[in-house]
């Protein structure tokens, strides 16, 4: 093999080596370029899940509050019914006591 052929083989090998390095650098650059998108997507996913958890918990709390409010409302209605049905004897007793105080 002549010297120029040897040199040519070496140059070809170095060229292939550079191509391998260039290809790898290109792949990594593309990966890095895509990082902001990947981060944004991941971030949105994490925050969306947290927001959904919060909304769901608040909706449950609203439901619990509404149920409790309904119970209080029923209790209040019973109490109102109960004070509205004052026996006439008791009412008379109250009027008697008021007259007694007023005229004493």
């Amino acid at each position: 093999m002549s010297s120029p052929e040897i040199m040519n083989k070496i140059v070809e090998a170095e060229k292939e080596g550079r191509q391998i390095l260039d290809q790898t650098s290109k792949e990594i650059s593309e990966l890095k370029r895509d990082v902001p998108n990947r981060i944004a997507s991941m971030r949105q996913d994490i925050l969306q899940k947290a927001t959904k958890r919060r909304e769901s918990a608040l909706a449950d709390a609203e439901k619990t509050g509404a149920e409790e409010a309904k119970r209080i409302s029923l209790e209040s209605k019973k109490q109102l019914d109960s004070i509205s049905r004052i026996p006439s004897a008791k009412r008379r007793q109250a009027v008697d006591r008021a007259i007694e105080l007023l005229l004493s």
Partner: protein, 206 residues
């Protein structure tokens, strides 16, 4: 010679591959680091969103409960006031009956007049009654009887001007500068807080 050249060529290519592998490893590590950092930050923010969730939920429940309790309380107070107002109407109706019954009303009127006379720092006083009472008691010994219940030298005359009242009297000094209101309305107004408290105690024992 050819074997040595092939080895050289292989070495050049292998070295490039090795270097490329290092570049790939470093690059991937950097990418993973940035993503891991961003994930940690997003997770911190997500934690912040849910950190006070329990307190927020409790506040939501408490707000609904306290709104309903307030509503119930107002409804209870409104009903209680309605009942008390009805009972006070009954009291007023009973007072009208009381004033129509001379045997019970006259002693009360005498006492009211005596209290009024006693409170006026004047020797001569005027006693004003309702038109109905003036008609009923004019010419009777009402004022004499009232004075006789007291240890006093005061004199009293019946005013000709009628009062707008259910019962009772207004006693005034002769110059009208001092007046004592002993009407049932005045008593009712004066004792209203006490009456309402007593009525409530009977009707709504807690």
């Amino acid at each position: 010679m050819s074997g040595g050249l092939d080895k050289l060529v292989d070495d050049i290519v292998r070295e490039s591959r090795t270097r490329a592998e290092e570049i790939r490893k470093d690059g991937l590590a950097q990418v993973e680091d940035r993503i891991a950092g961003a994930r940690a930050e997003a997770t911190r923010e997500a934690d912040q969103i849910t950190r006070n969730l329990r307190t927020e939920c409790e506040a939501v429940v408490n707000r609904r409960v306290s709104q309903e309790k307030q509503k119930a309380r107002l409804a209870y107070l409104a009903e209680k006031n309605r009942i008390l107002s009805d009972v006070m109407k009954d009291v007023q109706a009973r007072l009208l009956e009381f004033c129509r019954n001379d045997s019970s009303y006259r002693p009360f009127l005498l006492k009211s007049i005596a209290q009024g006379i006693d409170a006026i720092p004047s020797d001569r006083v005027k006693v004003a009654l309702s038109e109905k009472d003036i008609r009923r008691y004019k010419g009777t010994k009402l004022l004499t009887d009232a004075l006789s219940t007291m240890d006093t030298t005061k004199t009293a005359v019946l005013s000709e001007l009628p009062l707008e009242t259910t019962g009772g009297a207004v006693v005034a000094s002769e110059d009208d500068k001092v007046r004592v209101d002993c009407t049932l309305e005045a008593r009712l107004e004066l004792t209203k807080p006490q009456l309402l408290a007593e009525i409530s105690k009977i009707l709504f024992p807690s």
